[in-house]
Structures are given as C-alpha cells and as structure tokens.
Amino acid sequence: MVVARVTADVRVSSTDLGLTSSDLIAIYRDMFTARAVSERLWLLGRQGKVYFLVSCEGHEAAQVGSVYGMRPGTDIFVPYYRDLAVALALGSEPIDMVLHALGKSADPYSGGRQLPGHYSSKERNIVSGSSCVATQILHGVGTAFASKYRGEDVASITYFGDGATSKGDFHEAMNFAAVHKLPVVFFCENNGWAISVPQDKQMVVQDISGKAEGYGMPGVTVDGMNVLDVIRATREARDRALRGEGPTLIEAKVHRFSSHSSNDDHRRYRTPEELAAEREADPVARYRDLLIDISVLDEARASQIEQDVINALDDAVDAAEASPDPTPDSAYTHIYSTEGM
C-alpha cells in the first residue's frame, strides 16, 4: 500500500535525520505560521494598511526545511526578501513580522526603515539584507570566511532565487567560496520566475544545481515542496561544509503561489490553469497530511495548533497596529557608530 510505504519512509527518514515527533510538529507549526502570516499580511495590504509585501507562499517547505537542516543559534543565515519562513523558523515572532510590515518603530528588523521582507537579527544570526538581488550571496561567503578563519564550527547559509543566479554576484560568490573551500551553503529557491520572466528566458539549463560543477563544487536539486527532503539536503551540505570539504549549491524547486509582490498581479503573465495546478502540491497541506498519516498528528491536534497560531496572530496584529510609528527624527540615527573608533 502506498500510504504504508510513504509512512515507513518518512519514519525512517525523520528518524535518521534525528527528528523527534515534537520536532516534526514544530516544523509544521513553523510552516503553518509562515503561511498564516503571509496570508494575513496580504489581507492588511488589501486594506491599505501595508504598502508592500512579498509572500513566501509555496516556499514554506524549502525555507523551514533549510533552517532545520542547519543549526540555528550557531549558524549564520543570510536570507533574501522572500524568506519570511526562514525568519520565523529562526525564532522571529508573528508580531515581529507585523511590526515590520507596518514599518513601526518597534520593527525589530529595521525600525521601520526597510520595505517589508527584510529580516535581520543580530541575536539570531540573521544578517540584514538589501532589496538588491544577489548581493547577499557574497555576504554569506564572507561570513563563512570569518567563521573558518577563526576555526569555528559554524556554517553560513545564503538564500536567493532563480533570478539571482543570472547576476555576477552569484558567480563571483560561488567561485570564491569554492576556491577557499568555505563552509557555506548556497540555497537557491527556484520558483521558475524572476517576477514575470520565466526560467527559460533567464537561462538555458533546467537544473540550477548543474551550475555548481563549473565551480568545482557539488550541486543538488531537491524537491522544495517536501520539507524532509530539504532538511536532509541542507544537513548534508552543512556537514560537508564543516568537514572542511567546501560549499554546496542546493536548488530547491518550489512554486511561487502568490504574485511576485503586492505590486504585481501574476495573472497578467500566467494562466489560471497553471496557477491552479501548482497549488495542488501545496507543501503545507502535504506535510500536514503526512504527519497525520504517520500519526504524529491527528486532525484535532492539527486544528488546535492552527487555531493557536491564528489566535496569536490576531493578537499580534492588534498589538502591532497599536504600536507607535517611528518618530520623524528617527530617520537621522545609526548612520555611523556613535562610539567613534
């Protein structure tokens, strides 16, 4: 029976990944939270309360899986604007996301300075990024260099989309990391689109992982809609990095369920059929089903988790909306250190 086989596979899989039942549930909570936050923020956008948004819908398994494959608290994360679920899985709270989206003074990522989608936390080793595509890939190589330089057992992971691979920064980062055998994981969330430009107008090849070879590093393609597969691939890459064998390029194939951003309407360049078909492989629903199949969750427990998340989110939105805006003159701080040299 198919279900039984899947069940057995997953049990083996999760066990040899060292994941307990409560890990498996935590993973689900993170994925569901990411979805719920994305949807709620989108709603706030519709209500005109949020000016700009990037949703992570469709990327939840890839993003959450990548975090569970690394070692949060130790490793260094260099995300891009779509990585809402990365930030959540690293311990960001939904209220942080709402404060950020509203540009509130208490926005923990930037104090209301950055467009929504720019996660940053010194405490959680999430490195601040710009909106400029691909620049952060080089920063992740640099953080990895420093960890190795000091002889630390720390890896870096740097995230980017398929679009980013076209840019010189990607190339230079891959090459340098390979030459220096740096402990860095290149994590590409390939959703097949750079806004409206489909993959075949971006590149000739099908698999972005194939780009690794030219740099002398391994590349793997993984089903980015399957969180356990992503955990496994990321963990292997991390282990390899820490064994001193250098970087790995992981391509997580995913679908972008939403428009590129709240400024975009992807129905202008995609057919309803295409969009509906992609939604069928929903990574959150799929993983939920799996946990129920293998009896890590039952329907009631799952619903309870979801309700708790929604409730917390309701509170978060209320609290964030009531939170003060930045003062005008807060625009003038943190340009330079005030400590002098």
């Binding site: 409206s196 430009v197 107008k201």
Partner: protein
Amino acid sequence: MAEKTVLEAIKDGLAEELERDDSVVIMGEDVGNMGGAFRATEGFLARFGERQIIDTPLAETSIVGIAIGMAVNGMRPIAEIQFADFMFPAYDQIVNEAAKFRYRSNGEFSVPMVMRTPYGAGIHGGLYHSQSIEVQLAHIPGLKVVAPSTPYDAKGLLKSSIRDPDPVMFLEHKRTYRLIKGEVPDDDYTLPIGQADVKREGSDITVLTYGLMVHFSLEAAEELAREGVSVEVIDLRSLLPLDKETVLESVKKTSKALIVYEDNLTLGYGAELSAILASEAFEYLDGPVMRVASPDIPSMPFHPAMEFEALPNPAKIAGALRQLAAY
C-alpha cells in the same frame, strides 16, 4: 493635443520610436511579459514582438554592457533599469565603457544608447526604491543626463535621447509618472538636449531645480507670490550638458538663488550649480546661494513619517525662499 501623464507621454514616445526605427529595441527586466514595473511598456510585447521587446535575465551589468555592444554595432537600444537603485551594478559599464568609447577610439566608435530608469522617492519605496542617482552620472563626461519633469518635456526629450549619437541617461522621477499631467502634441516632436526651461518667470529670486522638485518649487513660488515675492523657476531638464547660459542669465537678473534637489545634500547635483554661481555670478549675488535638499542619510526610510521628514517639500522650499527674500 491631449492631456497625458508623464508615464503616458513616455509610453507614447517609446512606441513611436520603436515604430519609426527598426534599430530601436527595449531591453530590461520585465519589460515584456509584464509591461514594465510601472507599465511604461504595457502591451508592447504583443504589439512589437519579442524581437524588439526583450525580457532579459536579472543582471544589470549585462543589460548595459550588451546594449553597448548593440549600439556599437548599429542598433539604438533602450536599456531599462527597473529602479535607479539597481543601476549601480552597471555603473562600471556606464562610466568605463559607454562614456569613454568615443573618446578612447579617437572618435571612431560611438554608443547611441539610452538608459531609462525611474528614480526618486515619495512612494514609500524604502531604502532601495527611492534613490537619486544623477550625480554619479552627471559627473561623467561622455554621458548625457536628462531629467524631465512634465509629460511634454519627457516625450520630446526621450525622442531626442533615442536619436542622439551618444549615450543618454534618461531619468524619470517615478512620483511624477501618474501625478503630473499636461498637454502633449499628437505629432512627432523632439526637444533639444541641453536647454533649460523657465517654468515660471519672476524677478526676485531664481529657483534652479529639476524633476519632481520643479512642481514643488512651483507650488512654493505660488505661495511666495501671494506674499509679494516674485520667484523664477528654472527647470534644468538636462543635467549634462547643463544650460549654463539660462542659469546665469536668470541669477544675474534676480541676484538671488535657491537650488532645490531631492538627493542628499552633500555633493548633490546642486553643489555644482552653487559652485558655478559662486564663481561666475559672484558679483551679481545679493545673498547666499541656498540649497534645499534631503539630509545626508543613506537613503529614504520606508515609513512615511521618516520619509516625509527627510524629503524636500513645498513648505521647506517656501521657507528657504522667505529667508532669501528677507536677506
């Protein structure tokens, strides 16, 4: 004649040039499938086809670098940079290549290309969808830099830019796209690059400005008029070459100058205008050359409370004009 927005005027200008000259193409991110981030090329893919409307990979260095090669080989590419903030990866190709091709080949090669890009703040674009980049371009001999403020100027200057034998950086203030409307002739017309336009005549103070700030300055001038101060507003339109004659003539007439720009103060474009006045109109000046600009912060913060704190606006301009008037 019809009333159009800046965006519509640009769209018309692009379409007419694509139609007129087969060597003209538009290349950039999302210019085809999506019709551009601001819809400046909406419908173009269907109308002109993939041959003339080229959705490129996400790589600004290559957009400009390849456009240079195309221009060197007989085409007239229009390279679109989706936001001015993303011009910087292409800066090397612009400065070291496009700007120097004619000079370094002793006049043999030329680069008749246009780089179009939306710049400026005021739409809550945050740090990376708000920057001004004119200084980095207008400092570079070999380039031309155009920054229109009205639909009429935008269309006429865009056409001239496309037909120009040298690389032209065409800067479109994104806040003017839908905000600013005006009459635009239906027939083909061009406006010469390098001529400023007196947008409002006056006798007491000269305002030197461009882009969105033209409109804010006109508002302020109107306010000052009610207070009995006559303000002349000069829209530079072309930042390189600069129409120094018009600038000097006006300041020699009014004896007072206020320079308004949105970029951060230090080494903003207005610094050069100040320097020219301090050197070439010194004897005519009856007051300090004043500047209204954004403060020296790295870029515009996202939250409107901070953004509007930092941006110049009609009230700030009027305030400076009052100071000058009282001097």
